[in-house]
Every structure is written in C-alpha cells, then in structure tokens.
C-alpha cells in the first residue's frame, strides 16, 4: 500500500519528464529539419540576410514555445497537486 502510494507520487513527475523528453525531440526536429533548411525568400545578399534573420526568429519562437509549454505543465502540476491542498493534509 505504502509502496503504491510512493509510486503514484512519482507518476506525475515521470509524465513531466517524458513530456519534456518528447518536446526536446519535436522542438529540435522542427528547428533543424524544417526551419534551418528553409529556402531563401529571394535571391541576393539582402535576401540571404533576411532569410537568416527569419530562421533565427522562428527558432527563437520555437524555444519560447518549448519554455511556455514547460511553464504551463509546471503550473498545472503546482496548482493541481501542491497549492490546492491545505497545510493539514
């Protein structure tokens, strides 16, 4: 019984670790396989610079989305499991 309670206690954190692991895969795939190989918007030096800026910006957005997803998962966990209970529980 005690052992089961301990296992259940770890379960949401295991889910959080798995979600983070999957987000690393998805995030890195989108950045390196979709954003980085994007073709130049238009030919020439300016086009090349603009394309690189867009790639960096999109990668930045991806990183932000990853952190945001982590933040939401953390908040969900904290509010559902930590702050919803009283001191006496």
């Amino acid at each position: 019984m005690g052992c089961t309670a301990l296992s259940l206690r770890t379960f949401p954190l295991l889910v959080l670790i798995t979600a983070t692991w999957l987000l690393i895969f998805v995030g890195s795939y989108v950045i390196f396989k979709i954003i980085v190989p994007l073709p130049e918007i238009y030919p020439g030096f300016l086009g090349q610079i603009l394309t690189e800026i867009i790639k960096v910006a999109l990668s930045g957005v991806m990183t932000f989305l990853w952190l945001y997803a982590m933040w939401k998962l953390r908040n969900f966990y904290v509010h559902r499991r930590l702050l919803s209970r009283s001191e006496d529980e």
């Binding site: 206690r9 770890t10 692991w21 890195s28 953390r74």
Partner: protein
C-alpha cells in the same frame, strides 16, 4: 572486447579515484570536525553538525582518475576534462569559503568551459535521435561557454538531501558511458569511470545519515565534469535527457523565484520539518517550487523516502537517455 591495455586503464581509472575517495573522505571528516568546519543538517529534528565540504576528496580523486586516462591515452579531450575539473573545483572551493553570489558563481564557471573551447575538444555537429547530426559551427561555441555553468549549477541545485547528489550522479553517468561506447568514443567512455567511482565511494559517507556534505566544491565539480564528458564525448542530447530531473528542478526553482539567487538567501522555504523527521511541502504560494516540494505534494515523507523517489526519477530519465542513445547510434549487437 577491450584490448588488454585499455582494460588495465579502465580498472585503474575506476580503482584509483574510488580508493582515493575512500581514504581522503574520512581524513577530511576528521580534519573538518577538529577545525570546526561543521554545518547543521536542517532536515533532522536534533540538527546534527555535519562536516562540510567533502569536495576536496572528490576533486583530488577525480583529478587522479582523469590523469590516469590522460597518461594512458594522451587524449586532448581528457586533458580538457582534467582542466574543467580543476577549474570548477577551485571555484567551488572559493564558493565554500566565501559564498559567491547567485550571479557571480555561474559567471565564474564560464572559465570551466574554456579548456574545451581552447583545446578544440568538441565537435560542432551534435547528433540527434532519428535525424542525425546537425551543423552548428557558429552557435555551438557560444552554447559551450554556458554549458559548464549550466550543468554544474543544475547538479548543485539537486544537492538538497543526504546522499542525493552523489547517488544521482552515479545513476545518470551510466547512460552517458553507454552512449559513448555505442558511438565508439572509448577514450572518453574511460574518462567517465572516475566520476562514477568517486561518486560511489563518496556515497558511502554521504548517504543517510550523512557523515559529510560535499559542499559546492563537490557538487559543482561533479556537475562540471558531467557536462564536460557529455560535450567532449559528443553525447550532449543523451547527457541532457539523463539530467532532466535536475534540469526540471532548476527550471521550477528559477521560474518561481524569477532571478539567479543563492538558495541560502531565499526566505520562504520549499519544505518544512515535521515530527519524526518527516518532511512536508510548504503550501505557501510564494515559496520556491522545487523537485522535493513537488514530491512532497501528496503528503509528508522521510528524507530517505524522498531520496529514493529522486533516484527513481534519475533511473527513469537514464532509461530515456539510453533509448535516446539507441535511437541516435543504433541498437548494440
């Protein structure tokens, strides 16, 4: 099968740091106790005094182990790891003596990244599972500069309960070594043995009830070497995955306090001590969110039980790291 000379190097690079830690740690316990280098163990009702820091024993044994691998192989990568260990150890010792600020500590630890960068002991083609290597010729050296401060501080933040940091490092170093062997990085895989050996021997004294604490010199050095091994061995993604429980702990903490701050300066504690030496989560909304606090969300546990739960998380992330290694370099035959 390893050639005989590599087998001897493997044995020595494990045995020497293991024995060195077993000899040096009791000496350090005696010396620190005699000279008053003691701190309270806050997670016990009677607040026993525990010698701190045990870092010097860890640092010396790691340097000895890495020196064995370097002398046997002459690898530049191992030389870089020796220097990373020395620099991070020195910064950790300064921190143990003078208590560096939460911002200065990571800034100084950038120095720990320099040997890898200056000795060119890295590849800017990190390998990812399923889609392989990517070229990061410009951004990788910049990431490398912050990698050692990040890993050392991340491991430092998990040093919260008796035996946790030493046990955690033992568990998460195994997938790192597995990935290097899978990749064919035998030399750097050998350089992983000292960190496992030293942590294993230190765990004997650090486990509940602790006879010594590693201090920042111990935990920062272990974290810096772990990060260095992942970079020099070219198994960065595997290293990150295995370290996930500690990364999440840092993320929870930083996203709740919203600044780089020395943990001793946090007024609201994430946990509180109950009767019977049980730990409970603080329900105060302004207390920092940590891994331990989250593990205690469902009710109080003893310190040993919390440590066991953290080891379970480390074992799980290590399993994911092994899967990551197999997805990256194929199934071992």
């Amino acid at each position: 099968m390893l050639p005989i000379n590599l087998t001897i190097v493997a044995l020595l690079s494990f045995a020497i740091p293991f024995i060195a830690t077993l000899i040096l740690t009791p000496l350090l316990i005696k010396t620190l106790t005699k000279r008053g280098g003691l701190v309270q163990d806050y997670h016990k009702a009677n607040k026993p005094l525990v010698p701190k820091p045990g870092g010097p024993a860890i640092i010396i044994s790691l340097l000895l182990g890495e020196a064995v691998v370097y002398l046997a192989t002459g690898s530049t990568g191992v030389l870089a790891l020796l220097l990373v260990t020395g620099i991070a150890g020195a910064i950790g010792l300064i921190d143990d003596i003078y208590t560096l600020s939460g911002a200065l500590k990571p800034a100084l630890l950038i120095l720990g990244s320099l040997p890898i960068l200056l000795l060119d002991a890295y590849s800017f083609h990190p390998e990812f599972p399923l889609f392989g290597a990517v070229r990061l010729s410009i951004i990788y050296p910049l990431i490398l500069l912050i990698a050692i401060p990040v890993t050392s501080n991340t491991v430092n933040t998990i040093d919260v309960l008796n035996g946790v940091v030493s046990g955690f490092i033992i568990i998460i170093s195994i997938p790192l070594m597995f990935a290097m062997l899978l990749k064919g990085e035998t030399t750097i895989a050998l350089a992983t043995l000292p960190i496992i050996a030293s942590s294993l021997a230190f765990y004997v004294f650090h486990r509940f009830p602790s006879k010594i604490f590693p201090g920042d010199s111990g935990s920062l050095t272990l974290g810096a070497l772990y990060g260095g091994l992942a970079i020099v061995g070219g198994v960065e993604v595997v290293g990150i995955v295995a370290l996930l429980p500690a990364i999440l702990n840092s993320f929870f903490f930083l996203s709740s306090v919203r600044r780089f701050v020395e943990h001793r300066k946090i007024k609201q504690r994430p946990t509180k001590l109950l009767e019977g030496d049980r730990l409970a989560a603080s329900r105060n909304g302004s207390a920092p969110v940590t891994l331990v606090r989250m593990l205690l969300a469902d009710g109080p546990l003893t310190e040993q039980q919390v440590a066991r739960e953290i080891f379970k998380l480390a074992a799980f992330s290590s399993l994911l790291a092994v899967i990551t290694a197999i997805l990256t370099w194929g199934v071992p035959l």
